[in-house]
């Protein structure tokens, strides 16, 4: 196969794979973040036994490889009546995998909000849910943003593991291509290039978002 024919054949396939990768990453980031925030809030404001339970959840998920979690979910799930196709299993797996890391980042963000700003709200008589929504979460987000972006970047590369359960993302396509053409090096270089581009975009967007969110807030206050 000539290089041109090679590209014409595999180009669109790889692009589609990359599209799936980006969608999986976006889904896992958005929902992992949302789940992480819920976990942190439940730990802060929920009943104590729930807090312990979530602590165990965080430690178990953080303490085990994503690959194993995905196997358990995809191959072990049916034993518990949870029969998922590859893509939904992958999306759910990514969400679960990311959530404890995001939860810990949010926890640190909450801790960074000066106590006095919460007390000022209480002294005025603002109810606790409104304090959380209007003051605690916005300020926690600002201080947590760099760490959130950082973990979102880590998560881009975890998507390759979804290939193991046949999610047709970029890694899956690259492996097929390698097997069909024996062009291992090219295939994997293309993979690296795609990821590098994706990470570059995310990190630039993160920096802009950070500048936007901190434009009124000086350091240390």
């Amino acid at each position: 196969m000539t290089d041109a024919a090679f590209l014409a054949h595999y180009g669109p396939i790889l692009l589609r794979g990359f599209g799936v990768t980006v969608l999986c990453w976006a889904f896992g980031t958005v929902f992992g973040m949302a789940l992480g925030l819920v976990i942190t809030l439940a730990q802060r404001y929920g009943p104590r036994p729930l807090g312990w339970l979530l602590r165990v959840y965080i430690e178990v998920i953080r303490g085990t490889p994503f690959l194993v979690q995905l196997f358990v979910l995809y191959y072990g799930g049916p034993l518990l009546g949870l029969r998922l196709d590859a893509v939904p299993a992958g999306l759910l797996g990514l969400t679960i995998y990311g959530s404890p890391y995001f939860a810990e980042i949010f926890r640190a963000g909450f801790a960074a909000v000066p106590r006095g700003q919460i007390e000022a709200a209480r002294a005025i008589g603002i109810a606790e849910p409104a304090i959380v929504r209007r003051i605690l979460v916005p300020l926690a987000l600002v201080s947590a943003l760099p760490a959130l972006v950082n973990f979102a970047i880590v998560l881009t590369k975890e998507t390759v593991i979804l290939s193991i359960i046949t999610v047709p993302e970029l890694m899956y396509r690259v492996q097929n291509m390698s097997a069909e053409t024996y062009r291992f090096l090219e295939a994997n270089l293309i993979l690296a290039l795609f990821f590098w581009a994706l990470v570059e975009v995310i990190s630039r967007a993160g920096r802009r978002l950070e500048a936007h969110m901190t434009r009124h807030i000086t350091e240390g206050r």
């Binding site: 709200a121 002294a123 008589g125 409104a130 807030i217």
Partner: protein, 257 residues
């Protein structure tokens, strides 16, 4: 505005094993200004924070216009969150560190409580916030974020934020201690105006000039005890207790040059 009275009797507070307030009695008549002075760590701020229950006291009674603060009955169970919030609506507080919300403009800082607590619409709250800021001479800083304001301006925003809620009692926790000396005057001027308007005020301060000229009464605290309370001229100029005389002497020496 009808100013509130404050009555403390035999109030005790603890931080773990540390006895922070020891059988403190204090009464503040409506429309009067009481300054709390004393060395740091003597319990002044704790006393102030007990009045709006930011710090729960362990025993004794704190009453605002006869209404018990923080508990259903003396020594009984805590009052509900809703009742505590209703009580705090009547009490304004100003902090040493200003504690403005950095992600909101000056106007939004003031309007937030009006919206969330008084249930005002955005437009009405914004108008009232503008009025409140006008009264502390910050009518031209409505759209400024706290990071763009000087310490004195930030503290005046904080005073406007508290005053917009139309409290009947104002608590000041070392309101000028974090300010550069040249900015202290503008904050004290606003506080003097409030005092002249008949607000009940309890002020923890190291500004002896303010205590001498504005306070109706000065209370001296040391090691968790309220040692003496009386007219400023008695406490500051003719202290009977040697602890007060000692405190004032170090204070004068520090400020001498």
């Amino acid at each position: 505005m009808d100013a509130a009275s404050v009555e403390l009797s035999r109030v005790n507070a603890f931080f773990g094993p540390f006895h922070a307030l020891k059988d403190v009695d204090l009464s503040v008549a409506p429309g009067r200004v009481t300054c709390l002075i004393g060395p740091s760590g003597s319990g002044k701020s704790t006393l102030l924070r007990c009045i709006n229950f930011l710090e729960p006291y362990a025993s004794g009674e704190i009453r605002i216009d006869g209404q018990l603060v923080g508990y259903e009955t003396p020594g009984g169970k805590r009052m509900s969150g809703a009742r505590l919030r209703a009580m705090r609506r009547e009490i304004g507080m100003v902090f040493q560190a200003f504690n403005l919300w950095p992600h909101m403009t000056a106007q939004d800082n003031v309007a937030e409580g009006l919206c969330r607590v008084k249930g005002m619409g955005r437009a009405e709250a914004a108008a009232r916030a503008a009025d409140a800021l006008e009264r502390v001479d910050l009518g031209d800083k409505l759209a400024s974020y706290p990071s763009r304001l000087s310490g004195g301006q930030q503290q005046r925003v904080a005073i406007a934020r508290a005053m917009a809620m139309e409290p009947r009692l104002m608590l000041f926790d070392e309101p000028t201690s974090a300010l550069d000396p040249e900015l202290v005057g503008e904050v004290l001027a606003v506080m003097k105006r409030l005092a002249a308007e008949g607000m009940t005020m309890v002020v923890v301060t190291h500004e002896m000039g303010f205590a001498a000229h504005v306070a109706d009464r000065v209370a001296f605290m040391d090691a968790g005890e309220l040692v003496a309370c009386g007219p400023a001229k008695d406490i500051l100029h003719a202290p009977e207790d040697p602890r007060i005389a000692g405190f004032l002497r170090t204070y004068l020496e520090r400020n001498a040059f």
